[in-house]
Subunit: 210 residues, 2 copies
DNA sequence: TGCAACCGACCGGCTGGACGGTTTATACTT
DNA sequence: AAGTATAAACCGTCCAGCCGGTCGGTTGCA
């Protein structure tokens, strides 16, 4: 048995926890179950995570950082110019990179479940999403376009993660096609001459949804 | 004390359960806590729901039916013609009908949490979303457009429900504006002449995300 | 009288966590 | 090289609290 670096054990425990959640749901994510999945005893597990809450927190943190990596990678791989982040998302998140996506799905799914259990741990996740929102707003596109595209991608993603609709490759391609056309047209004069029905005079409330 | 119709008690219990989940998270949704919130004893609660699972199932079912009502109402209120369902969504789901939205948020949030506990209860929710997906695909718009708009709206909705980003009225308006322009342009020749980067030759895999 | 609504005490199983002990690997000493 | 010290990693048992669910009883409307 080769000595692993300390982080590796923690990672393998987190993997185990995700497996348990994915297989049987959050209510089955007991310390014992996680320990068994990680091939160790509960005592050993508690040596690495001082409490169940700490384990859950680590789960969320890792998932947030995975997500952050995902969209920054997408950004870096996209050509420079307006809409770089959005193009990165479209290519990176709707691509066929099966394995990485599987991993992200695992972690996202477990993370959402964990957050349901303890909503106060949402901060790292919110930070990641808020950062993406800002990146996309400052992407050199007309207002709302980047946000709309990012939202659609996230919607698709969450549908998939939660199993709310069957997300097949056809749906992905149709959506991707529509979003790409939107992206392209948003950079032509046609976009600004478009005349969506007048937003009826907004009454002065500035209430926020949340 | 006026005699309430039997459904009313069940509804008030469901309301109580949602309140508990919203206030303290799923892990605090014990029968005792729900009963207390509903001003009755645990025994009384169990008289109306034979088990906790039955309570959760009712929570999910009600939330799914609320959601279904939301988008069918939107449809009915929209003018006939292509994109009716999508326009209904845009108007209905991104509108200022604060109260109804608050209610929907409550039920959605609690429902998602409950689903984390027992994923096998997802069916009614999936049915509602799948139906919407179909309605939107058969809405007389170019392929993908309706789906993309519905997804963006849902993404926004889920962001808000889960508290993943701060969804303020400005963001809503920007997104709504972009989606409405997309909707309009999708019905002009400019849409079909748009030439999104060729989807690279699809390899023959037809794997689905889920 | 009957029946539905409701109460609250109780039970048993589960689970998080504490804890004392054991193994294993590295560091230090001679 | 051999012995020894030290600490980290890990184990398995135990306990106490919690929580879902049961059940016998009570109330109050029809």
């Amino acid at each position: 048995m080769v000595r692993l670096d300390p982080g590796a054990v923690r990672r393998s425990i987190l993997d185990a926890a995700e497996s348990v959640v994915l297989r049987s749901g959050l209510s089955c994510m007991t310390l014992e179950a996680v320990a068994a999945e990680a091939n160790m005893s509960k005592g050993g597990l508690l040596h690495h995570f001082r409490s169940k809450d700490e384990l859950i927190e680590a789960l969320v943190t890792r998932s947030a950082s995975d997500w952050r990596n995902c969209y920054t990678e997408g950004y870096e791989q996209a050509d420079a110019g307006p809409g770089r982040q959005v193009r990165g998302l479209l290519h990176h998140c709707l691509s066929d990179a099966k394995d990485r996506k599987k991993e992200l799905q695992r972690s996202s799914c477990a993370c959402f479940s964990a957050l349901a259990q303890n909503p106060s741990l949402i901060d790292p996740m919110r930070d990641a999403y808020t950062e993406l929102q800002q990146r996309v707003e400052n992407d050199g596109l007309p207002p709302g376009v980047g946000a709309a595209i990012a939202l659609a991608i996230d919607g698709l993603w969450i549908y998939w993660v939660l199993g709310l609709v069957k997300v097949d490759q056809d749906l992905i391609e149709r959506v991707r096609g529509a979003l790409e056309k939107m992206l392209e047209l948003s950079q032509t004069p046609a976009w600004n001459s478009a005349n969506p029905q007048q937003p009826e005079a907004r009454e002065g409330n500035s209430h926020e949804m949340s």
